[in-house]
Every structure is written in C-alpha cells, then in structure tokens.
Amino acid sequence: MLRYIAWRIAVMVPTLLIISALVFTIIELPPGDYFDSYVSELRAQGEAVDSDRIQMMRKEYGFDKPPVIRYFYWVGGMLHGDFGYSFEYELPVRDVVGDRMWLTVLVSFVTIIFTWLIAFPIGMYSATHQYSWGDYGLTFFGLLGLAIPNFMLALILMYFANIWFGTSIGHLMDQQYLGEPMSWAKAKSILAHLWIPVLIIGTGGTASMIRRLRANLLDELHKQYVVTARAKGLHPFKALVKYPLRMALNFFISDIGSILPAIISGAEITAIVLSLETTGPMLIRALQSQDMYLAGSFLMFLAFLTVIGVLISDLALALLDPRIRLQGGSTK
C-alpha cells in the first residue's frame, strides 16, 4: 500500500506538467494577447494609446518571445512560488488572489458536505421505500433542485430576501470586512452569508447524488446476500448499512476527484449573480481580458486540487472494496 501511494505521488508530477501545458494552450488559444485587448479597449474609450509604452510592457513580460519559451518561464516561476503578474490589477497574482482562494475552497467544501448530508439519508430512504409516497416526494424535491437553473434560483432568492428581510443577500461577508485581516466578527459575517450560496450550489448536486445512491442501492438490495442476511436475522438497518450501502458507495468514491471542478464550474455563475468574493468571477473576467498569468494560476490551482482528489478517491476505492486491485494488473 505504501509503495503504491508513493508511486502515485510520483506520477502526479508528470500529470501536473501535462495539465500546465494544456492550461497554457487554452489561455493562448484565443487570438491576440492582453495588450491587444487593452489597446482596443483604450481606443474604444477614445483615449490615446502610447504605443511605445505598450511595446515596452510587451517586452518586459516576454510577449516578444515565442509561446514555448514563455511557457517555461511561467512553469519555472511557479516552481519557486512566483505566479506571475496580473496586468489588469497591476499587482503580483498572489496579492490579487488573496482571500479569494481559500474562500472558494471553503464554499466548495461546505457545499460538498451539505450535499452529502442531504443526499445520504434521502437516497437510503428512497431505496428502501421504493415507490412509496415518501420516495416520490423526496425524489421530486431533489429533482426540482436540479431542474431550476442555479442563476435563476439565486435571482429569485435575492428578490424574496429583499422583500421579506429587507436585506441584500449577495456577497460572502459584510462589505466593511473586505480586505480586513481575519477576526471573529469577520468569521461570523462569513458564516451568516455562507448558507445562501451553499444552498443554491448544493441543490443542483443533491438530486443526482440521491438518484445514483438510490439506483446503486436498489441494485444491491435485490441481490441474494441481502436476503440471506435478513433470513439469518440480521437487523434490517445493519443488513442495509453494512454490505449493500458499502457496495453502493463505489460510485461516490470514484466521483470525489471530479466533484471539485464540477462544483467550482457550477459555482462560478452563482458567484457572479450573488457577487461572491470567490475565484469564479475573477477567473472569468481574467479569461475574457486575457490576463493570462492570473487565469493560468487559478486553473493550475484547480488542477492541483483535482489531482489530489483523484488520488484520494483511488485510495479510498481500494480500501472500500478489496476486490479492486491496486495495480490494475492485466487479467489472465
């Protein structure tokens, strides 16, 4: 097992390198660079363009060199903690990102926990009470959460919060705490704001998780070992949790790796509507204005989280189901 873990961590390095190349390509794909869009934006506003200065900036940031060389500069910089410079904010990327990175992690993490807390009991109930009113009702509510587009839910919640409570529910904290160092008051303010985005982002994922748990659990419950266990007098709850639920969990575990990018992608739109202080709105803005080092750092950070997630899911899968072979050796 230890050898397997060490080996998997070693494999992560080339994976991350490939991802960095891919991320760089994606950012490079749209024609032109940040300075082109900057110049055209200035022209559109009727301002004079100092072309000497633009040329100088181009040179300073290595935009006169071919993309391959810039890629190596970028990767080399990241290796010793230099994530480059954001053109739009005229600050190093690390300073621009600031709080946003861990706020994103916080929102995503709480959302995942929320989804699991809701989906597990409902999925188990639906599977054990198939075709009962409770099954229909709970599944229907779960599906309703899936069917309403996140941004619409956000807008409608904002509207009603305005009418009922007279407050605006946007943002992740009260505005006076923005840029402040962490304090009790700030933490409390974040917690008070957190539930709305978690609710909105979480509703979408809950339904699919309920369905999949229900589907997989039903597959297992029809197997003979469950009947045997029940016939031998095992308590119904134990006969449900100990074996069938464990088997039905396979799909959850193999999903851990992919949940994170999915939640962050889904959260971006909600974050824009609610103007949350997470990375989503900033990433989209950076991509649109081709502020490439900022966008690239965000994407690499996400990629890193995902690779870790996949590693965890593979290990957990092997622990959970001993039939799965770690090395994936070929069959006879």
Partner: protein
C-alpha cells in the same frame, strides 16, 4: 480385472431403456396461456411491460415525445412569428383566457387591452377593457411564415381575434409574444446537446471498458488522460473554444461545434465509473468461465459485463441530456453560449437576469417552466428505463 465396474462390458446392451423420441416439457407440466406468455416473451417485451408499470415514466416519455414532435411544427403551434413585434404592447402582462362574458357563454376569449403610462415611474400599466371581447380563433390565418424556411404558410393553431391581441405569456421589452418565443426556443434547446452526448457516451463506454478490463499500461495512460481532462473546469474551455471557432460560422453552428468538442472531452466521468465497476466485475466467476471458453475480451465486455451495469449507464445518459439543456441556459446567461437573434430557452432567460425584472415583469421568468418540466421528464423517464433495464429482477 475389476468385476464390479458400473459400466457394461464393451458391446453389451444397456441395462435401462432410453426413449429416443424428443421430450416435450409441456406434456408433463402444461403452462397456462398467461404463464407461457410471460416465460416466452422476449427481453425487449419484458422491458416494455416493466417500463409500463412506472406510470410517471410513461407519462414523461409521452410528454417528451410530444415535445419533440412539437418542435417539428412550431411555426404552426406558435400564435405569432418569432420576431413579430407589437410596438403598442411592450411589457404587457399575460392575458387571462375567459369563457363567460356578463354571464353569457362566448367560448374562449380575452379582453382587449389599453396601456396607461404611469407618469411618475414611467411604468406601462395595462388595463383590461371590459367591453372589448376578443374571441380566440383556432386553425386560423395569422402571421405568414416559411415552414422550415421552405414552404410558405399562414395557418396557426390559435390566433388572436382580427385586429386583436393574444399574449398568453405576456410580451418582452420589444413587444414580442413570450409564448411564441418559448415554442420556437424549444427547437434549439431540445436538440443542441444530443450529438455531444452521443459522442461522450460511446467514448466513455469504450475507453472506460477497455481500461477497466485490461488494466496494465493502457489503464495507467487512460487514468492520467482522464485526470488531466477532468481537472479543467468547463467554463474556461468554453471561453477558449468559443474564441477559436471561425468567425464566419453562425452562432448556432459555433455552439454546435463547441458541444461536439465538449462531448469529445466529457467522456471522462462515465469512463471512470465504467472502469471502477468493471474492475470489480471482472473478478466474477462468470467472467473467468467466459475466458476459459475462449471468448474475446470485446465479447466479454459487450455480452457479459456491460449488461451488468446497463442500468447505471442509462441513468447517466438520461441525466446528462438535462445537463446539456441547463448548461446552455447557464452559458447563454454568461453571454458565452448562443447569442440573439438565435432563440433558445437560455437566451429567453437572459432577459430576466436582474432582480428588477423579476419585480416588475415576472412573466419573463416563464421560460423556466418548460426547462423545469423537460428536465423533470427526462429524469422520470430515466428512472423508468433504469428499472426496466434488468427485467429479470
């Protein structure tokens, strides 16, 4: 020699009698007609019987079939054309259909409308004129259109009265009938994602199946590719892909191109699920038996392993179609998906993107209704199919 051998000596007649006439099971234990109907039914027929029992799935299936038929003839179904503008009726709320006027039955009709501008807020207020009865016409002549851009026509299922109006779902900021636009929008919303899903499904099953079954180097490489592809969130991909599509393409074509590319990228989730299930299933005894009998690996995957988790594949497929529909609404909302004048449900919802619209013109949210209904229907249909996929349970 062992004289106690149970076998007769070579050439000696057998001790017991064996009839060589073919044995008919029915002669011993006859089945009732109902029984034989069940036992001799094909797998497909059993699936259909089982599917039929799931009422909600059956209704959803019929509903979706009707919708997909409806998008073939939306020129006929919609009371107005897609771009017909009624400049006198901007932001008009939905009209109510009445049956009785002054206690007398006149059939379905709406009252005519009068606009009063609130001079303080500049808000348009519409008042029903209680004496202006406008009877709704059926199978009538209205806006002329080109059916699928080919055949001239002007027949509609319902039309407003002569010189009257009929806005059952209100109008938008240009005075266009929201109901007609919802009907036309279905055409793009319901079809655009299907091809991409087809691609990702085939790729997911084939690649995930091979990786899970063979393991070894192939599995390793596939695993890394999946990791790389999965770690990139879809929105940056959309942005980059939308930027490199040829400018000469129409918005619909660009969107179609992006969904196909996304289909080629999004097979990873399914492939991982297929792989992890296969890793467990391939250790089963029946797989060993098939291998010993000399079945090729593609046959084992196709005939013995995939049916084992078909139900899961079907659940995934039905849930990924609504995913595409929702994705379209979200991307159009961000301005990355389709763009006006193309009309889809996502485009219609972008009109309702601010809180003030919800406060003053809530009927612009109506396109959310078909979105919710279609997504629910696909999900119920998927449930029914899942339950029917293994009819021998």
């Amino acid at each position: 020699m062992n004289t106690q051998s149970p076998l007769p000596a070579p050439g000696a007649p057998l001790q017991h009698y064996v009839s060589i006439a073919p044995f008919d099971l029915q002669s011993v234990e006859a089945m009732t007609p109902e029984q034989s109907k069940v036992f001799q039914a094909s797998q497909l027929r059993l699936m259909w019987w089982k599917f039929r029992r799931h009422r909600l799935a059956l209704i959803s299936g019929i509903f979706l079939a009707a919708l997909y038929f409806g998008i073939l003839i939306c020129e006929f179904l919609a009371p107005y054309n897609l771009h017909t503008r009624n400049m006198d009726y901007i932001y008009s709320p939905p009209q109510r259909v009445h049956l009785f006027h002054n206690g007398q039955f006149v059939g379905p009709f709406v009252y005519g409308r009068e606009m009063k501008l609130d001079m303080d807020t500049l808000k348009r207020n519409y008042i029903d004129k209680q004496d202006d009865v406008q009877r709704i016409r059926f199978f009538c002549k209205g806006d002329s259109y080109r059916f699928w851009g080919l055949i001239e026509g002007d027949r509609h299922l319902v039309c407003p009265a002569e010189n009257g109006q009929l806005f059952l779902a209100g109008t938008d900021r240009l005075g266009r009938d929201v109901l007609s636009r919802i009907i036309y929008g279905a055409r793009i919303s319901l079809t655009i994602g299907l091809v991409g899903i087809g691609f990702s499904f085939v790729l997911g099953i084939v690649i995930g199946g091979l990786a899970g079954y063979h393991g070894g180097i192939f599995d390793l490489v596939v695993q890394r590719i999946i990791e790389v592809l999965q770690s990139i969130p879809s929105i940056p991909l959309w942005l980059a892909l939308a930027a490199i599509m040829p400018i000469t393409w129409s918005p619909v074509l660009i969107y179609f191109g992006i969904t196909v590319i996304l289909g080629l990228i999004h097979w990873t989730g399914l492939a991982r699920a297929v792989r992890s299930k296969l890793l467990a299933l391939r250790e089963e005894d029946y797989v060993l038996a098939a291998q010993l009998m000399g079945a090729s690996s593609s046959r084992i995957i196709r005939r013995h392993l995939i049916p084992g988790f078909m139900s899961h594949l079907i659940a995934t497929a039905t849930i990924s179609i609504p995913g595409m529909i929702l994705g379209e609404t979200a991307l159009s909302f961000l301005g990355l998906g389709l763009r006006a004048p193309t009309t889809s449900w996502g485009i219609l919802l972008t009109e309702a993107r601010s809180v003030s619209v919800i406060a003053f013109y809530p009927w612009l949210l109506l396109p959310i209704l078909p979105v919710i209904l279609v997504i629910l229907a696909f999900n119920f249909l998927g449930d029914g199919l899942r339950d029917a996929a293994d009819p021998y349970k």
